[in-house]
């Protein structure tokens, strides 16, 4: 019967879609978000650009594998990796202890820290410690003092942050009782709401915010307040991988180490961020 044939065809088709990856990696599918400039973003024609787009091409050349890049919405990116939709994540994702329970990370290929942005002309622009960087690992007391210093400014305000981001973890820990926290699916959405006046502050990666603020149409957005990194914020953006693919992690680590050593990472970060994001 026709129906039976159809079912058979569909099943066979599905089976062919799924070629198991061979043990030695010849082809890697890497996922990014495509909405987190300058790390990664989408151009009008649908193609991708950004620091990670340039970087993955370099790394794949070093690993001598063929790579394809796909986009995936941020809040489903880790489940999609574990579900086997792709093999690696390069989406400005910071390696945190919490995420490492589920997936593994390579060495970091960039870190800019997390900071705030506010609307130009608002009182929040005057938050103290602007331009200072605090490590939540080695300088924890100072960092926590800085948080106390900005609390009076944030009292009763609304902070926008991307769901499942390290900034949201930070806010959850330090500012949950001070301000109302609203979670967005993508960083661009909280930018829109900052400009529209629905939220008073947003928190995201320094690299993202400084680029976003420089963008045309965002002249009303300014970076403010202290910058935090390390600790619960993780050790910088890294390639996210399935735990069992240790061989792939070793390959990425080796390639990243090479790219750091020969200055490729510095060169690319200067191009995209305007400053060096090489982690040390």
């Amino acid at each position: 019967m026709k129906f039976g044939k159809m079912v058979l065809a569909v099943c066979m088709g599905l089976a062919m879609l799924g070629q198991a990856e061979a043990k030695e990696w010849k082809h890697i599918t890497i996922a990014t978000e495509g909405a987190f400039p300058p790390w990664n973003s989408t151009k009008p024609d649908g193609s991708l650009e950004g620091y990670e787009i340039d970087l993955y091409k370099d790394l794949c050349k070093r690993m001598n594998v063929e790579c394809t890049m796909v986009t995936q919405a941020w809040d489903g990116i880790i489940p999609a990796l574990t579900a086997g939709k792709f093999d690696a994540i390069m989406a400005g994702m910071s390696a945190t202890a919490k995420r490492e329970k589920i997936i593994s990370f390579s060495e970091s290929y960039g870190t800019t820290g997390q900071t705030f942005a506010v609307a130009r002309g608002s009182d929040l622009e005057k938050m103290p410690h602007f331009g200072e960087v605090f490590s939540l690992e080695s300088e924890l007391p100072q960092a926590e003092k800085a948080v106390e210093d900005i609390k009076p400014f944030l009292k009763g305000k609304i902070i926008g942050v991307q769901t499942a981001s390290i900034a949201s973890v930070f806010l959850d820990k330090y500012l949950k009782d001070t301000a109302e926290i609203r979670e967005y699916k993508s960083t661009e959405q909280h930018d829109l709401d900052l400009l529209a006046g629905r939220v008073d502050v947003i928190m995201a990666s320094m690299g993202y915010l400084s680029t976003a603020a420089a963008k045309e149409g965002n002249s009303d957005m300014v970076v403010a307040g202290p910058r935090f990194q390390r600790g619960i914020l993780g050790r910088g953006s890294s390639v996210g991988l399935r735990k069992e693919d240790t061989d792939l992690r070793d390959m990425f680590n080796k390639a990243i180490a090479q790219a750091k050593a020969d200055g490729t990472i510095k060169k690319l970060s200067d191009k995209w961020f305007g400053f060096d994001v090489t982690p040390h």
Binding site: Q19, G84, Q189, L195, N218
Partner: protein, 240 residues
């Protein structure tokens, strides 16, 4: 905050978003169509199960339609998107494969849509079957037709005629549901509009453009359905 006009954004030059939006509209139609056809197969089977199946089969079909009508489509798409890969991989490994079965966003979206619309297809086909007069089937039997011939020559054409208006409604629903597939990262209209809105900070223009494209698709497909409804009804009426 905005400066560029609607037409500056939506032009078809190298910096314009016109082609991207059109491409995304094409993707919307493709994934909706794939889901609709898949839903049709599921619905055929479901209707058969409800009409002619034995008790357990009927209960299963009822459970399927009840559950899928009771939970949000967004959840179904999520579940299917993530759960689908896991399940397929498990099956694949059970048969001795290694690693992961890739499950592309398009297939996931189409299948999720197919699964949700299948529940509606089931009800439409069932209703259409019951709308066929017993006399018409009896007459076919009296004319000495075999079961298969009766199905092919009498029941199917009549079924289609009764089902067409319902199918038109389902198509509308499916078309709109395809917007939810954007959560799987597939770049269809809704997702493309979000990307454009984010990149240019002009959300209104992008979402209105997406809305207009959806309306255009709706309008055209409405016409197609109305035409085919008229066609099928005329044919049958003429034969009477």
């Amino acid at each position: 905050m905005s400066h560029a006009s609607f037409w500056e954004l939506m032009n078809f030059g190298p910096d314009g978003w016109g082609w991207s939006m059109l491409r995304a509209a094409g993707m919307t139609v493709m994934v909706a169509l794939a889901g609709f056809i898949l839903g049709g197969f599921i619905g055929t089977f479901g209707a058969w199960a409800k009409i002619a199946g034995n008790r357990p089969v009927r209960i299963a079909a009822d459970a399927y339609t009840t559950i899928l009508r009771g939970i949000p489509d967004l959840l179904v798409i999520f579940l299917f998107y993530f759960g689908g890969s896991l399940a397929l991989s498990a099956v694949y490994r059970a048969f001795g494969g290694e690693g992961f079965v890739d499950f592309p966003g398009f297939a996931a979206g189409a299948m999720a849509i197919g699964l949700t619309s299948g529940a509606q297809h089931t009800e439409v086909f069932r209703g259409a079957y019951y709308a066929i007069h017993d006399g018409e089937i009896e007459a076919a039997r009296a004319a000495g037709m075999t079961r298969m011939m009766m199905l092919r020559r009498i029941i199917m054409p009549l079924l289609l005629r009764h089902a067409l208006p319902g199918l038109g409604n389902i198509w509308q629903v499916v078309l709109k549901e395809s917007a939810l597939v954007s959560v799987t990262g597939m770049i269809e209209l809704a997702r493309q509009a979000q990307i454009g809105a984010g990149s240019t900070r002009q959300p209104f223009y992008f979402f209105i453009a997406a809305a207009i494209l959806f309306l255009a698709i709706t309008f055209v497909s409405n016409r197609v359905f109305r035409f085919s409804e008229a066609h099928f009804s005329r044919g049958v009426r003429g034969a009477r």
